[in-house]
Symmetry: C2
Subunit: 393 residues, 2 copies
């Protein structure tokens, strides 16, 4: 038969991830290409204890259907943390639990985008967002992401010329670049958006992972009714539970809830209650501080090795937090070629092209520094440098 798929399916960029997963699984390949948090920091024993307590105390209730918005005590925990860490006046009623913050990308796009609507993004921008938004057939407009945040003149032109339904950004340790908006640029972004009908979609997957342990004030502080924030426990507790959230003004959350209910009724309730129990009995601040410190060491190690070993013409970002950085290759060296040759040499990196929604990035790569250990990092960057030097010659 002739399967008549929807037009939107033709809009999704060809995914590189399948090849990536295949490659990352080849024994002996050191991978900087993925995006896994360090397995060593997943507290299996603590989560096991929390699970046992939940089964013993809640019984069948932990395994039944629940409401779409999510487990109230977990939403209270999240709201309280916003109040405490970021001085945001969050209430549990403004929080909705989702299946990892990737689901926010899908649902925010669903509630806002008609085909042909404008969406603003950073350049480079998060690949997973490009994939999710593409299915709603918007027109993408991007703004260069500089060392300290978006190019403000370009941002202002984009907002005024195209009036996007929303601008999607990752102000804290962006994926892929690792860059963080300065407070000045956060304020500038908010000032430009104020009085327009463009929502700021603030993806905060990495805000807990600053190496110096200090939180940065979100754009939402300057633009409360116009900003939606998404957050996640995937990078701080465990990705496999798929628990993230959205924190949004009430009119947005109401539509979000309708779409979430239609999408899957509610998120995994068992994981919600286990996670809440874990968070109530363990010190997340201390845990996150340990994780961030180690990621910081890994990041500095990668930066130092790149500086020492790479041929002239290689530059890289210098993240203050998160799990990723980008590097730019010497003239004439293509990231795709580096990917293919790297795998033969036993090292995998992610070519930057899929992060450029309107083209470009052929000479950029993304490097993850959370998954590999120190010895692997040293050996992996040595391998990578050998390949880059060969290709540049």
């Amino acid at each position: 038969m002739n399967y008549r798929f929807a037009g939107r399916m033709g809009r999704v960029p060809a995914s590189f991830l399948e090849e990536l997963f295949r490659v990352s699984g080849i024994p002996g390949v050191i991978s900087f290409a993925g995006g896994l948090p360090a397995s060593a920091f997943i507290d299996v024993e603590g989560i096991r204890e929390a699970a046992c307590e939940v089964f013993d105390e809640m019984g069948q209730k932990a395994l039944q259907y629940t409401t779409t918005d999510g487990y109230l005590p977990l939403r209270e925990f999240i709201a309280d943390r916003y109040r405490r860490r970021l001085d945001l006046p969050a209430t549990p009623e403004e929080i909705q639990i989702v299946n990892g913050s990737q689901q926010c990308l899908d649902i925010v796009a669903k509630i806002f985008l008609d085909p042909g609507d404008a969406v603003g993004m950073e350049r480079p921008g998060y690949l997973g967002a490009i994939e999710a938004f593409s299915l709603y057939e918007p027109d993408f407009y991007s703004v260069p992401l500089e060392e300290d945040g978006p190019d403000i003149a370009a941002f202002e032109s984009l907002i005024h010329d195209h009036a996007p339904k929303f601008f999607y950004g990752i102000p804290n340790s962006q994926n892929p670049s690792g860059r963080t908006y300065s407070q000045e640029k956060r304020r500038a972004v908010a000032e430009i958006l104020e009085g327009t009908d463009t929502v700021f979609y603030e993806d905060d997957a990495f805000g807990e992972l600053f190496f110096d342990g200090k939180p940065r004030l979100p754009v939402k502080r300057y633009l409360p009714d116009q900003t939606v924030i998404s957050g996640s426990f995937s990078k701080t507790v465990a990705p496999g539970m798929r628990i993230g959230w959205i924190y949004a003004p009430e009119p947005v959350l109401r539509e979000f809830n309708v779409a979430k209910q239609a999408a899957d009724l509610h998120s995994n309730f068992l994981s919600q209650v286990i996670l809440h129990r874990y968070l109530s009995t363990h010190d997340l601040d201390a845990h996150v501080a340990r994780v961030s410190a180690v990621y910081g060491e890994h990041c500095r190690l990668v930066c130092d090795l790149l500086d020492d070993l790479m041929p002239p013409g290689v530059t890289h970002t210098t993240p203050e937090g998160g799990m990723f950085m980008t590097a730019t290759l010497p003239d004439g060296v293509s990231a795709m070629e580096l990917f293919r040759e790297g795998v033969r040499e036993g090292v995998a990196v992610l070519p930057g092209v899929p992060f450029y929604v309107d083209g470009g990035g052929e000479d950029t790569i993304r490097l993850n520094f959370s998954a590999a250990g120190e010895e692997e990092i040293v050996e992996g960057i040595h391998r990578l440098a050998r390949v880059v030097r060969r290709l540049a010659a």
Copy 2:
């Protein structure tokens, strides 16, 4: 600010579920309005054991990111069960794990429907499907659901006149009616669809719950490359884990996988591995047989009580399985009025209107018979009959 939501958000029927949840939570109200499986059959002890084994044996792996398609051993279990129970030649490669089979409704609609495309459904049809599909702005066409399946002449006209992208049906113990397609009608549906480009979307949430314990052969048996089946562990093991699946031909599954990845990367992995462990160490057949037998007793009890207590003019369906039935009210009695008056009398039912995508159903109600115990059923139907008699007088 002016939130500029997408046009699709105006297409969702106003949800009745919030009021329902509120009402169902009022102490003293006996509810036939919800859709919960019996909590008593959720094997907390068994799932607890499985969880502990998973934490001890898999460690961090059970809590990391995984691939979009889902945990292979769980997909093997599902495929094997199709081969054994229904003689369908399923392979794990044709199975994809989702967040409860509700997510299939969203994703199948997403991959097939452009605005204005035709979708076929039963009348009455599943409310959750109407909500999910509506967000993709199709034109709905419905076919009367008779005691033994769809009105075949109307089905044939619908397929030929409107060439829907897919026809969505629940051949086994449909929600809301409890009706089951006869084998003749399954064959007739398949014959009409064969050679067309209309997919049959066979929602099989209840196929394990026939009171006589005998499986019915799915439409997919007669139309393998043109049928997608969705299934769920929510009604057989536990809803709170949100684990369902789709079983679809490879070209459909490929697009489904792209949309699933964009939607939330992958389903809760911890629940997938716990569930698989539970299924490997417990006898699902025996469990399902026990659940079905009790649901059968509850169903017969409700039917008998309706026959004995209701005034003339009340009719009801007589399910062979599942969790739901519908009743039709006497002339002049409205289901909305019954809902409101019922709550005052301490009994809640679900008005049928939201199950009628093109209008009607004002004199119908859906009754759930899985959640309440026998004593509650007896008392609840007595209360309901009192209200109906009063309204009919």
